[in-house]
């Protein structure tokens, strides 16, 4: 076994023995020294997940979150040195994490926070000038065939749980009061868009979320609107325009 393999192997395995071949100048047992590396690796990865999932952590408490994130980190260490992308897959892990089974909304909340990270770091794009939008929308006969390129940072999430209300409650001064007002049976959908240098997280009707999702997938306007549950099409387009979320439109 190579030195590196032996050293790496035990880093993510708390029960594995300290690798052989280590020494200390004073002859002390190297286990405690090696533990510094073990600790650094897992703590830094858990810290990264805690940074990107603050509401998930608030919902379960720090101790529970760190134990859960630590298990994820040991099982699924990053595959890239770009840690901004560490956490993809965390929501799926949370969904299957038995101790969290009593919180059915937790995985979608983690998913929402992950989408927020993606929106944060996504490519920038200028919105389509309103005059061009107006010209394209004026031709009513061509409307169904319009294809819309959404801003690269835009994300939608449709959840069977009130994830937007849960997230918003943790942004308010009185989180406990806001949480008390939530209908935990309600399904909610989220739209994430750039808001200057920040990311805005908005609640939209499930039908509107489905419509936006289909636009993002490349469906033409008419097909995207028909396939979704009832929703207010002009209001939804207005919402996208107001947030600079339409980067291009073309007739196909």
């Amino acid at each position: 076994m190579s030195t590196e393999l032996a050293f790496a192997h035990a880093l993510l395995r708390p029960d594995a023995p300290c690798p052989a071949g280590l020494r200390a100048w004073n002859g002390s047992d190297p286990v405690k020294r090696y533990a510094v590396y073990r600790n650094n690796v897992v703590v830094s990865l858990v810290d990264a997940l805690a940074d990107s999932h603050p509401v998930t952590q608030a919902l379960v408490g720090e101790a529970f979150f760190r134990a859960m994130a630590g298990e994820f980190a040991r099982r699924s260490p990053p595959r890239s040195p770009v840690l901004a992308w560490y956490g993809e897959g965390f929501a799926d892990f949370v969904a299957d994490f038995p101790p969290a089974a009593g919180l059915p909304y937790l995985a979608d909340l983690a998913r929402l926070e992950w989408l927020r990270v993606e929106a944060w770091h996504a490519a920038d794009a200028d919105p389509l000038p309103l005059a061009e939008v107006a010209a394209l929308l004026a031709d009513e006969a061509a409307l169904p065939n319009l294809r819309v390129t959404l801003h690269p940072a835009l994300r939608v999430l449709r959840s069977a749980h009130p994830v937007v209300s849960l997230w918003a409650a943790h942004q308010s001064e009185d989180a406990a009061g806001a949480l008390g007002a939530i209908d935990f049976a309600a399904a909610e959908a989220a739209l994430l868009v750039r808001d200057g240098l920040d990311v805005a997280l908005l609640r939209v009707e499930p039908g509107a979320a489905a419509f936006i999702y289909r636009l993002q997938r490349g469906d033409a306007l008419g097909a995207a609107a028909q396939a979704a549950a009832p929703f207010d099409l002009p209001a939804t387009l207005g919402l996208l325009l107001r947030h600079g979320a339409i980067a291009a439109m073309r007739t196909s």
Binding site: S2, T3, E4, L5, F7, A8, L11, L12, G21, L22, R23, A24, W25, N26, G27, S28, D29, P30, V31, K32, R33, Y34, V36, Y37, N40, V41, S44, L45, A48, P77, P78, R79, S80, P81, V82, L83, A84, W120, H121, A122, A123, D124, P152, A153, R194, L197, D198
Partner: protein, 300 residues
């Protein structure tokens, strides 16, 4: 503090020339928590340093702020993910990302670590140690040759903070680093806190350690805080935490390093328990005071 460095970029001028050098002043690690404060107050800081990997994202606020802050302040880009000390080949895709980032920001300095952080496709997010022997030396030199060739520039290599040593080591760390610098032509990023931490952790004389390094190759100095623990025998075990002010003992060692290496671009690194920006700016000024005091002593 006046700089003895003739290559000091002129503030507020045109885009800085590629590969100009950092000024021999105090610098501060740039953190997102301080973006707004820095743009609003435009503090007089010798240079900023960022971790390369944090900016390997497509867009968003990180690039927005770095572009604006970099426009009138020298920049050091410091990699933490190349795994130069690793047994496997370099990650060429990562090297490509690095080349793109350097082309975009044209930093005055690029540096990386004498350490490894990836194994078997997993990134372990820590700077891990390697034994010092001929095999590691050959690999590290080949990796640095490749990095310098791909990036088209000289890099600085940072001495590590370590907690264990290897029975397989046949060379002192200082000899290993001297060999790497001699063979590859890379520069040395002298991390004085790492030197102090490693010397305490391995029962060495920190001043002798500094004297044994190839100090003419120093292109930058790092200063940071450390934490205190003990090993299994109760001996002090210092942890390179980057979570505290620079320790007095490290300031003393820094003053000694300056007497040996002359004034150097000196970075205050702080990654944890981040204080308000002026606290870090004051530590950067402290480094400039140490350099000025040393220059005055030499002139006297």
């Amino acid at each position: 503090m006046t700089s003895a460095n003739p290559h000091r970029p002129i503030r507020g001028g045109a885009a800085p020339a590629a590969h100009a050098t950092l000024p021999a002043r105090g610098g501060v690690g740039l953190k997102p928590e301080h973006f707004r404060h820095i743009l609003d107050t435009r503090p007089d800081i010798g240079f900023f340093e960022v971790h390369a990997e944090n900016y390997m994202v497509a867009g968003g606020p990180f690039h927005h702020y770095l572009e604006r802050i970099r426009a009138d302040t020298p920049l050091s880009i410091h990699g933490v993910g190349l795994s130069i000390g690793g047994e496997g080949p370099l990650d060429e895709a990562h090297l490509d990302r690095l080349a793109a980032l350097l082309a975009r920001y044209r930093p005055e300095s690029f540096s990386e670590h004498l350490a490894w952080s990836s194994h078997g496709g997993a990134f372990l997010n820590d700077l891990l140690p390697a034994p010092y022997h001929a095999g590691t030396l050959a690999r590290v030199c080949a990796h640095i040759d490749r990095v310098q060739e791909r990036l088209g520039r000289r890099m600085l290599l940072e001495n590590p903070a370590t907690y264990v040593e290897f029975e397989a080591s046949t060379m002192a760390e200082t000899d290993f680093i001297s060999e790497v610098v001699g063979r590859t032509g890379c520069g040395l990023l002298l991390d004085v806190n790492n030197a102090y931490v490693a010397c305490v952790n391995h029962g060495r004389d920190a001043r002798a350690y500094l004297r044994a390094l190839p100090l003419t190759a120093v292109g930058e100095i790092h200063l940071a805080g450390h934490a205190h623990d003990v090993d299994a025998a109760g001996a002090p075990l210092l942890i390179d935490s980057h979570g505290a002010p620079v320790a007095e003992a490290v300031w003393d060692l820094y003053a000694y390093a300056i007497t040996l290496a002359g004034p150097q671009p000196t970075l205050i690194e702080r990654d944890n328990d981040l204080p308000a920006f002026p606290v870090l700016a004051a530590e950067a000024r402290q480094a400039e005071i140490v350099m000025a005091r040393q220059a005055a002593l030499e002139a006297a």
